[in-house]
Symmetry: C2
Subunit: 261 residues, 2 copies
Amino acid sequence: MRWIRFSAGGRTAYGILEGDRIAEVAGDPFRGYEATPRRHDLAAVKIEVPVIPPTFYAAGLNYVEHVKEGAARRGEVPNIPAKPDMGYRAANALIAHGETVVIPADATEKVHYEGELVAVVGRKAKHLTEEDALSCLLGWTIGNDVSERTWQKSDRTFWRSKNTDTFKPMGPWVETDLDLDAAETIVRLNGEVRTRFATNHMLFGVARFIATMTRNITLHPGDVIWMGTDGVSPDLKHGDVVDIEITGIGHLTNPFIREGA
Amino acid sequence: MRWIRFSAGGRTAYGILEGDRIAEVAGDPFRGYEATPRRHDLAAVKIEVPVIPPTFYAAGLNYVEHVKEGAARRGEVPNIPAKPDMGYRAANALIAHGETVVIPADATEKVHYEGELVAVVGRKAKHLTEEDALSCLLGWTIGNDVSERTWQKSDRTFWRSKNTDTFKPMGPWVETDLDLDAAETIVRLNGEVRTRFATNHMLFGVARFIATMTRNITLHPGDVIWMGTDGVSPDLKHGDVVDIEITGIGHLTNPFIREGA
């Protein structure tokens, strides 16, 4: 089942996507909902960010090749994480499928994509075991953890390198049924495949992260957990279009422009 | 003026605190409100966290003594930040004035308080100058950035050291009128003054941080910005009570217990 958040006729609502038709609901999948008679064509609505998360988690370094390539780029020895320590991103930066990433005028040319699986929490949860961990999820979506590498290296935190407004595309919807082991992440730049990896070939899997986190932290409905990326991105330029596909979920597509270009 | 968020009679509402009486409003100070005839005694309500922030910012290292003492504790050379790079905390960890900080059973004895000024954003804002920066604020409250120093050193992120459930007391209310230059931060442990510093003696002031942040980031109503702390905390034990006073705002008081003690 696919949950979509959308705007039409001046209202924003949740709906269930079946093919290219949306069955609008009253309420939402987190606190409860009821069916309505309202139907929409997918092509006729504006797709919104699937949820504004109360807390926005991000695994960061969670695929071996990405860690090695990042270290090589910086002339450092790769520091493979020994345990699943979760990081954070910020809601100000979220944009929806189809919206535009705006590279600030003072950014360097080192602006990269990171195609990521996103786990969407559906219910309040603490003290989950690895076996039970995925039971707290509503489903899965896609994120692009856009990063300005020069700032990432020069700043003490990720506030600017990863959380500049528009740097966190997420969507297009939440898929509740996903065969994670079969999923592949495919990133296309202007239609050409540039990065491709098995989505679940993580250093630490989703269940391991959730079991670890919920020893200390309560997860809340709508929290999102971005699971990291593999491979490396070319430098993105004004006019580029980045499409992140995760097979079984869909495509997250966003144009990039440079401010003042 | 003091904005308080509280629960009484099974409902949670905002009100304006005058002395020890609350004038309840309909709505909230961020999106708009109307007066109501309802009045409450402060002593008869449960004080709630003043706002659940869309994004929870924290300056981290922002007072010279705190940076030096932290470095000395770790046997490192102090690394005084050269520019205002904002960090993050997480909403799961928030608790209100009077609520209990629960130290997990597996935490070490190195659990510390950090008494902090908190700036509360009142309106959407981007591209503010230092001169205009404070115009986006609703007012000021108090935060205790409780930290487990062993985890802070061993983990790749602050997920556990600073964002364990209950580790972020905030409150008791939002004071809209504060003479920041006259304010003093006074931390009492079990009634005895243990830390005392001029609240505004920061490396980078609130206006500097906001002007820097809003070059890249849109601030939203309800966002909170924790401004860092000075001095050093003793190790906190089961049964301790930490009271953080910022003169002109009030007192944020929380008991600490150790899980299983």
